[in-house]
């Protein structure tokens, strides 16, 4: 039964490529209908299986925030969605998807599944990048065990959950902001593979940046 899940990315995701309609009223109705559908679908629970074998339940709409899971589900071509609930759990074959990581990921998608979709008319990538994390996300991602934190980011990246990778990335960048290289190397356990000469050369190139106004 397990073999039916595949990672074929050529199928599915066609919905997002539909041509936009220009009539504002239609748009509004269509959006509302879509929202109701997402709400109904999220009542259907599916099971996800971690690399360590732990099984976690998750709403269907929430689970589909993972592009990988969404593609796998699309590949099943199941018209009766309720049947998905009774299927074998979806295996997530990457060692970063530990029990702990998957538990957190399910918590995140369950909280974010009803986020409004990005409006292509006002999609300002620059603005979105600079936006601060929400209070909930900050508490969610503030994880003391760095191995676990890195697992979650790697797992989210593997499962292709863009929003969660962004939360992790912003968290790390916030933590190292303004710190010295030595501090950051120590914190993120980065091995310095430069020779002292190479490092000095880079310092010299960037000297102007440390100059006082």
């Amino acid at each position: 039964m397990n073999g039916e899940y595949s990672l074929d990315t050529t199928e599915g995701m066609a919905a997002s490529g539909d041509p936009p309609t220009n009539n504002a009223v239609d748009d509004y109705d269509a959006e509302e209908a879509l929202e109701r559908q997402r709400e109904e679908e999220n009542k259907i629970k599916i099971k996800l299986k971690s690399f360590e074998g732990g099984v976690y339940e998750c709403g269907l709409t929430a689970a589909k925030m993972s592009v990988m899971v969404a593609n796998m589900l699309d590949a099943l071509q199941e018209t009766d969605l309720t049947k998905i609930a009774t299927r074998e759990p979806i295996p997530l074959q990457n060692d970063a998807v530990t029990n702990k990581a998957l538990e957190k990921i399910v918590e995140w998608v369950d909280h974010h599944w009803d986020d409004p979709p990005i409006d292509p008319d006002f999609d300002d990538e620059k603005e979105r990048r600079n936006e601060e994390l929400s209070h909930w996300d900050k508490q969610f991602i503030d994880i003391a065990d760095q191995g676990e934190l890195f697992d979650i980011i790697a797992a989210a990246n593997f499962m292709d959950i863009k929003g969660l990778v962004e939360v992790g990335a912003k968290h790390i960048c916030n933590k190292i902001k303004g710190k010295s290289c030595t501090e950051v190397r120590e914190m993120l356990k980065i091995h310095n593979d430069f020779t002292p000469e190479e490092e000095a050369a880079i310092h010299k190139e960037n000297e102007w940046i440390y100059a006082k106004d």
């Binding site: 220009n22 009539n23 504002a24 060692d95 620059k126 990048r129 065990d145 760095q146 191995g147 890195f150 697992d151 980011i153 790697a154 990246n157 990778v165 962004e166 992790g168 990335a169 912003k170 790390i172 960048c173 190292i176 902001k177 303004g178 010295s180 290289c181 950051v184 190397r185 993120l188 356990k189 980065i190 091995h191 310095n192 593979d193 430069f194 490092e199 880079i202 310092h203 190139e205 960037n206 102007w208 940046i209 100059a211 106004d213």
Partner: protein, 333 residues
């Protein structure tokens, strides 16, 4: 037969699993779970893309992986960040003003390290540093550029326009009317119209009390005339157009407004008319009908300083087919 295949498949799966477990062990030897080094280049680049430019420069020397990736996804230069370090401020104490000068070496090093910069938003004149004296272009991949024009840029602009004629998408050029002649204004805009890749053009005015500078009627007339007769034919490729213009009389406002209907590719049109005080209370009659050739228009904004727009404009928008779904913003100041 089918069973055999099944068995083979299972065996293979088991082998594969063993292999993957082995790899895990060897990898863990080199990259512990809590080390950032465990991440491949793709994920590493994605994470580092959220760093500020200043942090990028400081962390370049962390490791070879960071050096390779840290600048890759930086696409935008912001005034508040590193750019201000590019400017050497020379204060003149006796007069309460300062001159800005560009730190050339720094900009050159930046141009080399940040190959993907596509957007610069800065309030000082940067053209003289993007184009060197030998007409060499230092930042080659810009798609968005906004800056205040200075008369001394006349010789540098051709090289800039030539390099960017197909690739610059959005350009905003700020003019100071009291410091330049109408001929120069027209020359600069005609020259920049050669950048056929451009989809968005903004022409803002510098300064707030423009009427205090006593700009002569002849200059205004020439510029208005240029916008109505030549400009609208020079820029058929624009999708967004924002113009801030001085107009002495209401026929001038009307002429500029109506002439825009020749730029049929426009999606957004924003006008800001600076009219003199003696037009206060004066009704300026502009109708959406004159813009009806602009079939793709979705945003229209008209702002009139000191004048009043005729209310029938609002009434007629509801009944007029083309503009009925147009987002209209009218400033009846």
């Amino acid at each position: 037969m089918a069973e055999e295949e099944d068995n083979e498949c299972q065996e293979l799966c088991q082998k594969l699993q063993i292999v993957s477990i082995d790899m895990k062990f060897t990898e863990e030897e080199y990259y512990p779970k809590d080390s950032f080094d465990r991440y491949g280049d793709d994920l590493c680049e994605e994470i580092l893309s959220y760093l500020s430019l200043e942090d990028c420069f400081r962390f370049e020397c962390l490791s070879k992986q960071w050096q390779r990736l840290v600048f890759k996804s930086q696409v935008c230069l912001n005034v508040d960040e590193v750019v201000r370090k590019l400017i050497i401020r020379i204060d003149i104490k006796s007069r309460s003003e300062w001159f800005a000068k560009i730190n050339w070496e720094a900009l050159e090093s930046m141009g080399k390290k940040l190959p993907n910069i596509t957007s610069i938003d800065i309030n000082i004149n940067l053209l003289s540093s993007i184009v060197t004296e030998n007409n060499e272009i230092l930042l080659k991949n810009l798609t968005h550029f906004r800056y205040p024009y200075e008369t001394s840029d006349g010789n540098l602009l051709p090289a800039f326009v030539d390099h960017y004629k197909n690739s610059l998408k959005s350009f905003s050029i700020v003019f100071n009317w009291d410091l330049m002649s109408a001929e120069e204004y027209i020359h600069v805009l005609s020259l920049t119209s050669q950048m056929k890749g451009m989809r968005e053009l903004s022409v803002p005015l510098n300064g707030t009390n423009v009427w205090e500078h006593n700009i002569n009627s002849h200059t205004i007339h020439s510029i208005v005339h240029y916008h109505c007769e030549e400009f609208v034919n020079q820029w058929p490729h624009l999708k967004r157009y924002r113009l801030h213009l001085l107009c002495k009389t209401d026929p001038q406002v009307r002429r500029v407004y109506e002439s825009a209907n020749r730029m049929i590719g426009l999606r957004r049109l924003e006008f800001m008319f600076e009219t003199p005080l003696d037009l206060i209370g004066h009704k300026v009659l502009v109708t959406p009908k004159s813009l009806s050739p602009l079939k793709r228009l979705t945003h229209l904004s008209i702002c009139l300083r000191n004048g009043v727009l005729d209310e029938t404009l609002l009434d007629s928008i509801d009944t007029h087919y083309v503009l009925s779904r147009t987002h209209t913003e009218l400033n009846k100041d």
